[in-house]
């Protein structure tokens, strides 16, 4: 396992280099001028030209990329043009908050989604099945911002049980986590139900029942464990997406995470902040995928990496 992880980590280096090149080229191709965003609505051409030179923006693109790459190799993601703060520091400040939100959403999604899916699969066509599939439909169909605002109006404005938005204790986490997790709950419920329905009629489940195991044990130990692979896949993809910033949820709930940071950086053409964020988030994504692969092996002993 350890050599596998090591090899995978080494293999990410070209991937990340590719990400850097593509991000850098893209940012230089899209219209919009970082210096214009720095100087604001009114400026003189001399100031603009001076700033452009000071930021090396007047150099050829390969030279600019060289500067940037040299910084990255030394672990320096540069400073934001706009705020003049180090990009890595900005990300380090925001990422734990995104992690917190993503973690809460996934916890919610995993518990609710899998439970609903299993319950639905035990009695297909029954009341619980129909109820959980209704939730799944609704959860997949409703847009995130709609769910978010609805929750704010209901729980924060009308009932006043929870704060509408902001970052703080558990109370602040509930609504955004629910908003972010809704889709995953819905998707996981459907996925779990489908897989369980395939597994329940198999021979080994029948054998488990035949040898007199309690139904709870048959479902939990024998059926669900075999249904885990697709569930882990879905969870892994969702975690990857959540960790790389959930712009809509963070915006609606004024959550100070990386999603809003990246969005604002893109809007202001803050090149170091955008590039740094893309690189950082790519690393996160790669690591989550690696973790998913490792979990496959844990869930299914037949999968062995060597």
């Amino acid at each position: 396992m350890i050599p596998f992880v090591g090899r995978r980590l080494l293999a990410t280096i070209p991937t990340l280099f590719g990400v850097l090149v593509v991000a850098f080229l893209l940012l230089n191709v899209v219209p919009g001028d970082p210096v214009a965003e720095m100087v604001g609505e009114r400026a003189d051409s001399a100031t603009i030209a001076r700033l452009r030179a000071e930021l090396h923006l007047d150099e050829p693109i390969p030279a600019q990329f060289g500067h940037y790459l040299w910084g990255v190799v030394r672990g320096d993601l540069g400073r934001s043009y706009i705020t003049q703060r180090p990009v890595l520091g900005d990300l380090a400040e925001r990422f734990p908050k995104t992690l917190q939100l993503a973690g809460a959403a996934m916890l919610l999604a995993a518990t609710c989604g899998i439970t609903l899916g299993v319950l639905a699969a035990i009695r297909p066509g029954g009341a619980i099945d129909r109820f959980s599939m209704l939730i799944a439909y609704v959860g997949i169909s409703f847009p995130v911002y709609w769910v978010g605002l609805l929750l704010i109006l209901l729980f924060a404005v009308a009932l006043r049980w929870l704060p509408p938005s902001g970052y703080g204790g558990i109370a602040f986490l509930v609504l955004p986590a629910l908003t972010l997790g809704t889709r995953s709950i819905a998707f996981l419920a459907r996925m779990t139900r489908g897989t369980m329905l395939e597994i329940l009629p198999t021979d080994y489940v029948r054998t488990a029942r035949a040898k007199g195991l309690a139904e709870r044990r048959v479902i939990g130990r024998h059926a669900l464990r075999n249904a885990l692979l697709p569930i882990i896949t879905v969870l892994g993809l969702d975690v990857g997406n959540y960790l790389t910033g959930s712009i809509l949820t963070e915006t609606i709930f004024s959550w100070p995470g990386v999603g809003r940071y990246v969005l604002l950086a893109i809007q202001r053409r803050d090149l170091p902040a955008v590039q740094g964020s893309i690189l950082f988030l790519s690393v996160v994504f790669v690591l989550v995928n690696l973790l998913t692969d490792v979990l496959y092996a844990k869930a299914d002993p037949r999968i062995a990496y060597d």
Partner: protein, 526 residues
């Protein structure tokens, strides 16, 4: 990824309101209350750049700097110029040399006394290329500032420190509005030597002291009990970062922000349900369409006048902008000296528009592009209304929607035919609506996005800048505005009226006409 992100956000902006307003309406009855005892709570839509005055190039940064620092002069909520760190100043007859006398016994938040040398060092720091500030224009009129900013001089010869209590400025040419330039956040006085981390842990002389800044979340300030202008009426001021307008309204209704701007779509309901909470004030802002005076048919003044006659401004204002504004008959907002109330806007008259188009040789109309920023939903709707009205006189408008940054770049390069824009005052003076918007020297990044150029206008604007007598200056502004209006470099739309709600739990807050006109010193929690 970029494209996808941007389109996601646009979609988000445009569709959510329609889906959602009905539900907000249902919950609206349950409002009121408030978190008393938590102090005052204001908001910004995004995190300030920094708290360093030298970096104040956008509104959130400028507003925060205004709370923490003082300039030699300042504005009140109505845009009146007031003494700041300088309690009196004198100018020579030509408006070239100014002497500012400092208030005595002013101290920075760390206890250091303010001296005249601080003013000079603060200004040098703003101009210093090492600062990478970007907004140097308010200090550029000082003699020698340009050479210093370009690294060609080691000092600014136009700034002279007179002992500890006064500082004199010699300008490179006469400028009557210079004291207003010094009220801009970038001209705030910082202590010297400057604290290394002034952008994150600022030390100023302002009414509020810095307490904490959680990025993208909130900033907290405590009252400066020793403030020279009298200590603020509340113990603390929190500024939350809330990007989404509907969330902001919900926060206000939950009593977790003290004031909120009313989203356009909700104007009527708030007016009906909470008329006593609302405060309105004509803003120092102009909404207009820049017609590129150097491109295609738009080069012809008759075509530009025809376009003005073809657009039904009062109707668009009423339907799209909820009536929150006054139709523009010129570029100078009515609240400023130099605005001429007797001038009539271009009348909505499609027959006259067609006649003018025939005169110009475009009887069959022509095709143009109208650029809009995808992030500004309201202006986008205005663009659509203009598109359909111009179609009636044969002008085929293609709307080009881009994100704000791409649009700004194109507009500044002169690569757009028409662009819908708004202009916010930096300082409350007609000069701020004429020099940047219509002087030839302001082409592109300077603010003249219509590339209007007229020698007479240019020289009149410069004469006005030199004119010390206020009445004579205002007469000149009215004349310039009239001259430009006849040439129609814009589609003159309207001057917005700002509409805010102040929570019943607070007292003494007023909508500022200019972003740095509200220092929250007279606001109390009841």
């Amino acid at each position: 990824m970029l494209r996808h992100l941007l389109s996601t956000v646009n979609l988000f902006d445009t569709t959510k309101r329609a889906l959602f307003l009905c539900i907000l309406a249902a919950c609206h009855g349950e409002s009121g209350g408030g978190d008393r005892g938590r102090g005052l709570i204001y908001y910004e839509t995004y995190d300030p750049r920094s708290l360093d005055p030298a970096l104040s190039t956008d509104v959130p940064t400028g507003e925060m700097v205004t709370l923490l620092f003082d300039g030699l002069t300042q504005f009140d909520a109505d845009g009146q110029l007031l003494p700041g760190l300088s309690d009196r100043w004198t100018a020579d007859r030509k408006a070239v040399r100014y002497v500012f006398h400092l208030r005595s016994a002013v101290r920075f938040h760390d206890g250091r006394p303010l001296v005249a040398g601080d003013v000079k060092r603060a200004f040098l720091r703003v101009l210093n290329p090492e600062t990478h500030g970007g907004r140097v224009w308010p200090l550029m009129p000082i003699a020698g500032a340009g050479e210093f900013a370009a690294g060609r001089a080691s000092d600014v010869r136009g700034i002279e420190v007179l002992g500890d209590t006064a500082v004199a400025f010699t300008l490179s040419e006469p400028l009557a509005v210079f004291p207003k330039f010094l009220a801009m956040p970038v001209a705030s006085v910082v202590p010297s030597p400057v604290p290394a981390d002034i952008g994150q842990r600022p030390v100023g002389t302002g009414p509020w002291r810095f307490v904490v800044w959680e990025h993208d979340d909130y900033l907290r300030f405590a009252k400066n009990p020793d403030y020279w202008g009298g200590a603020p009426g509340s113990e603390s001021l929190t500024v939350r970062i809330i990007p989404e307008p509907l969330t902001r309204a919900a926060e206000f209704l939950a009593g977790r922000v003290s004031v909120t701007e009313i989203p356009f779509g909700e104007t009527a309901r708030w007016e009906q349900e909470h008329p006593d909470w609302l405060k309105r004030k004509p803003a120092l802002r102009a909404v207009y369409v820049a017609l590129n005076n150097r491109r295609g048919p738009l080069r012809d003044p008759n075509v530009r006048r025809a376009i003005n006659h073809a657009v039904n401004v009062p109707e668009i204002l009423r339907t799209v902008w909820s009536g929150r504004g006054a139709p523009a008959a010129g570029a100078i907002p009515p609240a400023l000296g130099g605005s001429d109330p007797s001038r009539r806007p271009y009348a909505y008259d499609t027959t006259e528009a067609r006649r003018l188009l025939r005169t110009a040789g475009f009887a069959d109309g022509f095709a143009v592009q109208l650029w809009r920023s995808g992030t500004n939903v309201e202006l986008g709707r205005v663009a659509q209304a203009i598109q359909s009205q111009l179609a009636a006189v044969g002008i085929r408008v293609e709307i080009v929607s881009r994100d704000a940054s791409s649009m700004r770049e194109a507009v500044r390069k002169g690569a757009t035919d028409m662009a819908i824009l708004d202009w916010w005052a930096d300082y409350p003076d007609a000069d701020n609506f004429l020099y940047p918007l219509f002087h030839t020297a302001s082409f592109g990044p300077g603010g003249n996005y219509s590339f209007y150029s007229d020698q007479v206008t240019d020289s009149l604007i410069l004469v006005a800048r030199r004119t010390v007598d206020q009445r004579a200056r205002e007469a000149l502004y009215a004349r310039i505005d009239d001259r430009v209006f006849q040439a129609a470099p814009w589609i003159y739309l309207w001057f917005p009226v700002d509409l805010w709600a102040a929570h019943p739990s607070i007292d003494g807050w007023d909508v500022p006409v200019i972003f740095n006109g509200q220092r929250w010193t007279k606001v109390r929690v009841k």
